[in-house]
């Protein structure tokens, strides 16, 4: 794994009104690295990764993506988002378009690829997420797990350099979580840089290079998974792990 940093957050802070969502958060993600962010709800995990593609603007500190400082400027952020894929908890597929159209609209309208080129890429990724036969269906005709896999394929079609996952399995029925995680594990094996907010600790153990534990808007602990799961440095992380692992 190369040690070149791709996301560098230095002391970033973010408030919504009086509520401090992030306080002095610093984190470096290197190329090819898989980072899993966990922590209790309301700890700022989602806000943090939403900052990484400019869906939220950080108020203080510095954030650079692949060497470029992220600042509040529409064309600049748009340019950056093409390289940073995002998968949402609620899938957010476009309901009025077919699966295939969901996948090709970004490459065609944003990357200005021809329809043929975009379709070739789209079919490749549909194959990768194992639903090539659903290309002509609408999102509403698919199961939750299938929809989330389409959402992953949609992000991949933009050929991003980093993939962000914001609790990708949290709104899925239990029996569909596995199929989505399998796709994510395979993606990790291709060497994709990934930042994943999740409570799926089995997945984290399997793929994470780095565990990040957050609480009330701060990073409490950054450890390699072997340390994090067996002997976390912070008492708070130990408590959190006890709570979610005993089930």
């Amino acid at each position: 794994m190369s040690k070149e940093p791709i996301i560098v957050a230095q002391g970033i802070g973010k408030s919504f009104g009086d509520f401090k969502a992030l306080t002095d958060v610093s984190l470096t993600v290197h190329k090819g690295e898989r980072v899993v962010v966990c922590g209790p709800s309301g700890s700022g995990k989602s806000t943090l990764i939403r900052c990484f593609n400019g869906l939220e603007n950080h108020d203080t500190g510095h954030l650079t993506i692949d060497g470029a400082e992220l600042y509040e400027d529409a064309p600049h952020i748009r340019q950056l988002r093409q390289d940073v894929g995002m998968v949402f908890q609620q899938f957010n597929l476009f309901p009025h378009l077919t699966v295939l159209e969901n996948l090709i609209i970004g490459p065609m309208k944003v990357r200005k690829l021809s329809r043929a080129q975009a379709e070739t890429t789209a079919r490749k990724y549909l194959e990768r997420v194992r639903i090539p036969e659903q290309a002509e269906k609408r999102p509403a005709q698919l199961s939750g797990g299938q929809q989330q896999r389409v959402a992953i394929a949609r992000a991949l079609c933009m050929e991003p350099r980093v993939m962000l996952f914001d609790e990708p399995t949290s709104s899925l029925d239990p029996e569909m979580i596995g199929e989505v995680l399998d796709v994510m594990v395979e993606l990790a094996q291709t060497g994709m840089t990934m930042v994943v907010v999740t409570h799926e600790m089995g997945f984290a153990r399997k793929v994470a290079d780095k565990m990040v534990f957050m609480e009330v808007g701060r990073i409490v602990e950054i450890s390699p998974p072997e340390t994090f799961f067996t002997n976390p440095a912070s008492a708070r992380a130990r408590m959190f792990l006890d709570q979610i692992l005993e089930h």
Binding site: N53, G54, L55, A74, P75, R78, Q79, R81, Q82, V84, G85, M86, F88, Q90, N92, L93, F94, P95, H96, I105, G106, K109, V110, R111, R138, A140, Q141, A151, R154, A155, M158
Partner: protein
């Protein structure tokens, strides 16, 4: 509970088909009777046989539209052009209001409050007697602009509600694949809002067609003006106003049925 065992309520009695139809016929009959006897008592001379020639005539040249059909056509052209302009204006105002710019919002809200709080008739006078001479607008243009501006206010609110009804996640998904705001509107947001906006927009077209009658006060030669002109020649006010009302009714009913057919096509497949 089997139907036969249910207690016989007044509602159930009134809803039996035979009684319901009889009652309905009685009410309609009563209205016709009162109008007819009322007209008889004032010595009104019904001349329905005169009416068809104002609708159409067959001459040696074949079918010819009468005054009323010509007026109807003018009403349609006026309504369609005003509505098209109102859609553009309404979309512009809605986008300004949603732009997130204070100036945009200020301009949009000012426009809405100004238009919504002036009577349509006064707005028409403003366009015809004030802006008309200033900008050299003829009566047709003044009428079209008045209707477009008046209805753009409500239409912009319909657009705004439709756009706001699309979940914020759709914006975020569009943004996350690098789309600009304009692209997100074009490819993602507006196509989804159309289904929600269609029913109230239909209502607005019907409303516009009906309010277009008001331009007869500046003598634009549309359906209502034509009706008034015929009456001043023939004194057949009952027949002509009934006919004009029926023509408006047929026009708006056809439109409503047509749009509900289109709406069914926009229902999402599941």
């Amino acid at each position: 509970m089997p139907a036969a065992n249910r207690p016989l309520t007044l509602k159930r009695v009134l809803n039996t088909p035979a009684i319901a139809i009889t009652l309905y016929a009685a009410i309609v009959g009563l209205i016709c009777f009162v109008s007819y006897t009322g007209a008889q008592n004032m010595g009104y001379n019904w001349q329905w046989y005169q009416v068809p020639k104002y609708l159409y005539r067959f001459t040696d040249d074949g079918f010819q539209a009468g005054e009323i059909l010509t007026g109807l056509w003018a009403t349609i052209v006026l309504s369609v052009s005003s509505f098209a302009l109102a859609l553009l204006l309404g979309l512009g105002v809605a986008l300004l209001r949603l732009s997130g710019l204070l100036v945009g919002k200020g301009v949009a809200v000012g426009y809405l409050e100004f238009i919504r709080n002036i009577p349509l008739l006064v707005l028409l006078y403003l366009f015809y007697y004030v802006l008309g001479p200033v900008f050299g607008l003829d009566r047709w243009t003044a009428a079209m602009l008045t209707l477009a501006v008046f209805h753009s206010a409500l239409i912009s609110e319909i657009f705004r509600a439709g756009i706001n009804s699309v979940p914020v996640g759709q914006w975020e998904a569009a943004a996350s694949i690098g789309m600009s705001r304009a692209q997100a509107y074009h490819y993602i947001i507006l196509p989804q809002s159309i289904r929600i906006m269609l029913p109230p927009l239909t209502g607005e077209v019907v409303h516009l067609i009906k309010s277009s009658a008001i331009v007869s006060v500046i003598a634009v030669a549309e359906l209502t003006t034509v009706g008034r002109n015929i009456i001043s020649d023939t004194y057949m006010s009952f027949e002509i106003w009934f006919t004009v009302a029926a023509v408006y009714l047929v026009l708006t009913l056809i439109l409503s049925f047509g749009v509900s057919a289109v709406e069914r096509r926009f229902q999402p497949e599941t």
